[in-house]
Symmetry: C2
């Protein structure tokens, strides 16, 4: 594995932008758009009924919504239209979101308001406008991985960040507003509700077994066999025993690691091949591009680092061609999920796809 080169530059409004390159190249393109003040960070409010924090990001209402290709803000800058990326070519780029839900703390807000402190980054997977993570060349996937690792390490140092969440939404059915292949990094000033719940369960499991929960889960999946989709030396992909979505796949390193910051190079090197296979199988089930949310669970920055293991959760709401699973009353209001498809059934369908 060649090491990946990182170049840090500044955008027209002062935001940070990072170029990640697998070959040595000088990144010097200047963002020439006229200076603009960045929006103040929004406020956060605690839901009184659940204690959970809700970010109020009303400035997001005006963000770009499915612009045509020639006005894609994630394409390289090739004409007079200045995109978010000033260079005319690039491999992988990460920059701070222009309409962030969470941003660095500011002194400009009134004291009685709880600020949405944190950080939101956009990870652009390619300078080509079409595709998604799974359609990238393997080396490019590896560069994305290098960016995820580097960003997780750096953002974890910020005093106001408690959790780094890396994800990709694919497809307009899950609300994608830009079609250019990209993912996002949400860095929260709190431990999210889902992660808090997972930590509590993992803690109880650890006290009983002295093992991280994900380690026991992987042991069980290997023993049960029926839900495994694919595996290699370092990674395993399976449909979880109690999947919530018609197609849900978890991908985990076989050896426990809390987050990308601690993922070793050789384990990272074997991820792209497996990831590509898994995403091709997902698209192969119905022979269409499946809309999905691909979410990386990581241990929080400052707690539970021996409890919660890095893993990738891919969920698709498509249950059949032309039919979506909607989160209706039970799921949305009560958090109680109803599944139409048995996990062993969907695992079989995923394994049966001819690649």
């Amino acid at each position: 594995m060649t090491s990946v080169k990182r170049t840090e530059l500044s955008m027209f409004d002062g935001r940070q932008i990072f170029y990640y390159d697998s070959v040595s190249v000088d990144r010097i393109a200047v963002d020439k758009r006229p200076f603009e003040e960045r929006p103040l960070p929004g406020e956060m409010r605690q839901d009184l009924l659940t204690g959970e924090w809700i970010a109020m990001a009303s400035h997001r209402q005006t963000r770009a919504f499915l612009p045509p290709k020639e006005f894609c803000p994630l394409c390289p800058t090739l004409t007079d239209f200045g995109t978010e990326i000033a260079d005319s070519t690039f491999e992988v780029v990460v920059f701070e979101n222009r309409s962030p839900s969470f941003a660095a703390p500011s002194v400009a807000l009134p004291k009685e308001v709880v600020q949405s402190s944190g950080r939101c980054d956009v990870v652009v997977f390619s300078d080509k406008h079409e595709g998604s993570f799974g359609t990238l060349p393997l080396t490019q996937m590896r560069t994305v991985l290098a960016a995820w690792i580097d960003r997780t390490r750096a953002i974890s140092q910020l005093s106001y960040v408690e959790q780094v969440f890396i994800f990709e939404n694919r497809g307009e059915e899950v609300g994608v507003t830009l079609n250019h292949p990209h993912g996002q990094i949400y860095s929260y000033p709190f431990v999210t509700p889902r992660t808090e719940k997972m930590l509590a369960v993992a803690k109880e499991h650890y006290q009983k077994t002295h093992k991280p929960l994900i380690t026991s889960i992987i042991e069980r999946e290997i023993k049960d066999e029926v839900r495994i989709i694919a595996q290699n030396e370092h990674w395993i992909a399976y449909v979880p025993f109690a999947a919530r979505y018609p197609f849900e796949i978890h991908v985990a390193p076989k050896k426990f690691v809390p987050d990308f910051a601690e993922l070793s190079e050789d384990v990272a090197d074997t991820f792209p091949v497996l990831a590509k296979e898994v995403l091709q199988r997902l698209d192969g089930v119905f022979g269409i591009e499946m809309a999905y949310i691909a979410a990386w669970h990581q241990a929080p920055v400052r707690q539970g680092r021996d409890l919660l293991g890095l893993h990738w959760q891919i969920t698709s709401i498509r249950r059949a061609p032309g039919k979506l699973k909607y989160l209706a009353g039970s799921e949305s209001a009560m958090g109680a999920f109803i599944m139409d498809l048995k996990p062993e059934q969907s695992a079989q369908q995923l394994r049966d796809v001819k690649l």
Copy 2:
């Protein structure tokens, strides 16, 4: 308030059906469809990562999907096509769901499988095919309320039910598969994740203040004033301080009551007028029928009855005409909500609607 008459009959496959009538009428229509075995209850699996129960209802895959009006199973039976309701007219009807996610325990399942014990009922609001709860005449809304009260009381007696959840999904955007005005009752064999969380928060609040949480919330809303949409002697409607959805309205009785089973007649009598106003305001914001999930929070059957108060939570995913709020990475995978609209802003929009 005239009392509502209930008639219990049996459907072709042995399911229970209840007619609720505000006038005295004999219900004797016989369901003449040929006998059919009911599906076995499905299994339930515990999500190992969160401890939450997921119902596996694979028989639901074949359920009716947006049938045309002449094959609507919720219309009265007027032709040779036998609908779920054998009578040729009715006011409000409740019957057991033909494809239930939860059903009465059966001895027919292998012992190692955890059964999805419980009950799923359909509440048909009207014998007219068009409309929704808010478009019913006031007396009809009151009859629906009588059905909710009666069903909550009866189902709460079942030993295998821990929580009774009453809700209405409106609009294809939230996955409605039948357009006929109706709601559902999900009776779970566990306390749902959302309710469990709410109980924990309400318990802490009670220990500090000796008040139910919802009582303190209503006091605060009355003091703050800015988020109130409407109120009358017994009920108040407001946008919650930390709303999760562009349009979210909570409606609560001003005096604490754990559930419908304990709701008094005079408080019930004043609900329809307020409910109609609230739902008309919601449709009035953009002048379109808003898709929504209208969910009744009730205290569980056997715990927290002094902690969790009855209230109605209406959430709409529409943030502007032609724009929906999707639950993407942050909401779906982490349970961390981002809101595009300030609650005070949406409350103002709802109040400004001319009725």
